[in-house]
Amino acid sequence: MADLGVMALLLGLALSAYAAIGSVVGEKIGMAELVVSARRALYMTTLAVVIASGALINAFVQNDFSIRYVADHSNTLMDRAFVWVAFYAGNEGSLLYILLALALMSALSVWFAPKRLARSMPWTIAILAIIQLFYFVVLSFAANPFELLDTVPLDGRGINPLLTHTGMFSHPPMLMGGLIAITIPFAFVSGALIAGNYGDDWIDVARVSAILAWGVLGTGMLIGAWWAYTILGWGGYWAWDPIENVALMPWLVLTAFIHSIMVQKRRGMFRMWNVALLNIAFVLAQLGMFINRGGPVVSVHSFAASALGIIFLSFMIASLVFAFALFLWRMPQLKSDRAMESFVSREASFLINNFLFLSVMAVTLWGVLYPVFAEFARDISVSVSAPYFNRANGPVLLGIVVMMGIGPLLPWRKTSARSLKQWFVWPTLVGVLTIIVLVALGVQRPIAIFAFGVVAFVAASISEEWWRGTVARHRSGDNWPMAWWRLVNGNRPRHGGYIVHISILMLGLGIIGTNFYQQRTDGALALGESLVIDNYRIEYVDNGDESRPDRIAQWAEMSVYEISPEDYEQEKAFAAAQGSTGFTLKDSRLRENDKLIDQIRPWHGFYVDFNMASVRSGIRSTLVEDLYVIPRDFLADGRISLAVSINPLAWWLWASGPFFIIGTMVALWPQPAVERRPVRKRKLDDTEGEN
């Protein structure tokens, strides 16, 4: 199978080179056959990558350890379900996966491209083919997944234990797929600009492909956060790790883009700005590829580190030069005809939100690149950690949420004082009331209370929008559910956006809860002993061995009791005097009000071949809070070392995912064509006659 894989890669290389050259030359000399042939070559590269990927997957299924990549990332003990994960577990395979995603997306987008972009398609195809060519070259000569070993081992090294998690079936492919998907809108817009198409013809294809990339990337990040929460054993979900950041940055820019493209669609403004945003997103995606592959910064994702850095750095610089040279070249033609009429309008609110998104991106970029610059310029090792990002980005992110509430209430063009008063009263009232109630309930932390107020304000503004629209439709005869459905269906991009906003609010609740109100304690328990934190008593009741040839593993059985704080007043007071939030109990006697509510089984393993520990935390999750038990170590004296935390509102982080996906799909779902007369299908006798 290695031979087939190598042949497919080399063929793909030749085909993509032909597609790039043939497309441009055919367009320049007016040779239609060459243009069509080049487009077909692009489709054939997809087949070549599919076959190369199939060959690698087959090698994993067959345990073909003559291939170095298979021997490095699997073994006979590996659950076959993880073949898909093993496929992209290392550099070579992940690059092949990226190329596969790019080739499929390129072929589909070119096939379904609107006919009005026909004159710019040869340039779009050339850009897509050049980017594919880069990956074919890297895969063929620098990171070949089909490289053979001189001596075939009896068994492989096995898959990285951190990857043996359900989230790994979707998190890496979605992140890599989302990053590379930004190539599609970039190629279409750049192709149009090169061809001299300065109008809005590319809006729809750029918007749809950008939202797809954004949705996939966002979902991938959320799944990654869940993976980190359940497997990395540190109790958090977002560490501002460089690899997380390089996915977040293009996502932020795409978020700005999918808002401002609405202004271009509706008002014919921000054309130049939108092109710039797409360029920035594309270059940041290349930065992501570079940092992922090159490993200039330390990350929990270091399993993908390699010496490919210089190759990807060169490609990123070339992308940057190309994108901005093209932008500067076509800038004079991109100016919009219209100017903003008022700063109290929806388009102005979108502009402000764009600046806020770019601010977070810039702060994050600086945090990612500073260690690299410091090492390069001063030869010192510096790491930028979460406090910097939280302090610098926190207020701006809160500002973005505020704008999420304000923007939808403002009409396009300008807003009258009457409208402002009319539409803002209810959400503001709800926000202020929330703050008052929380203060009255004795909730601590002013910043968090304000943030809760902001969340309530935005939720009320969305409710108001839906209420107003639904009532208007109900008055014209629809029943309530149908009225709401028609409202949403009538403008899917807008109302899909509101559903996404709801998911962001849910995410916000989780972030506020876990960041401001988390409680932590730790301790070592012998069998029968308990650890008490807040309203929970966690008793260590049993343990067992689950070792396999590739790992030494133990589990612990824990009974979780809900307790009445009054029963433990004395111990709590003693622990509080020592500055601790929790304490251990030697006796297993239960107090009067202790109530068994759950059994959890955290797990701790050590993988000898990888010299790596892996844990599965015990999590009891409710709408209000998560009880999170991390088994740090099984000690020689039979005790277990535990770290326990209470993560308020953590459930909402993960519940936001389905809303995010549904909202994205609603926003993407094609609107019915607004043409209220039958469209006669014209005979397109002057087309090339095929896709």
Binding site: D3, L47, R116
Partner: protein, 122 residues
């Protein structure tokens, strides 16, 4: 076997990309007329969509009556202009303006006569 499969893939690829040169079908690059026609159609549909969104905003109370009327008329004028371009009518600037005025008046009348006072894009 893998070598045979690889060779087969190469031969199929060559056949597919060579076909436009060797087959009997003749290809032509897309004409400017065709692209213009497609662009106009897309622009017209975009304007129709904008009018629908405008109606939706107005129904929801996002727009004042005056703003709604003004924006709708502007959009209808643009749509009428595109329809005229699509039909390929060649008119001088002055006659075109007159015809646009007539078209707007006709649309206004139609709106006034509509039982719900709503908008139709006929």
């Amino acid at each position: 076997m893998p070598i045979v499969l690889g060779t087969l893939l190469a031969l199929v690829s060559i056949a597919v990309i060579a076909y436009p040169f060797l087959g009997s079908k003749r290809y032509r690059l897309v004409s400017e007329t065709f692209v213009t026609r497609e662009k106009l159609r897309a622009e017209r549909l975009r304007i129709y969509r904008k009018i629908t969104d405008l109606e939706s905003d107005f129904t929801s109370g996002d727009l004042t009556d005056a703003d709604y009327q003004l924006q709708r008329d502007q959009l209808r004028m643009s749509a009428a202009e595109i329809l005229r371009q699509e039909s390929g009518a060649k008119t001088t600037n002055s006659t075109r303006d007159e015809e646009l005025e007539k078209e707007i008046s006709r649309l206004r009348e139609q709106t006034a006569q509509s039982p719900e006072g709503g908008d139709t894009l006929k």
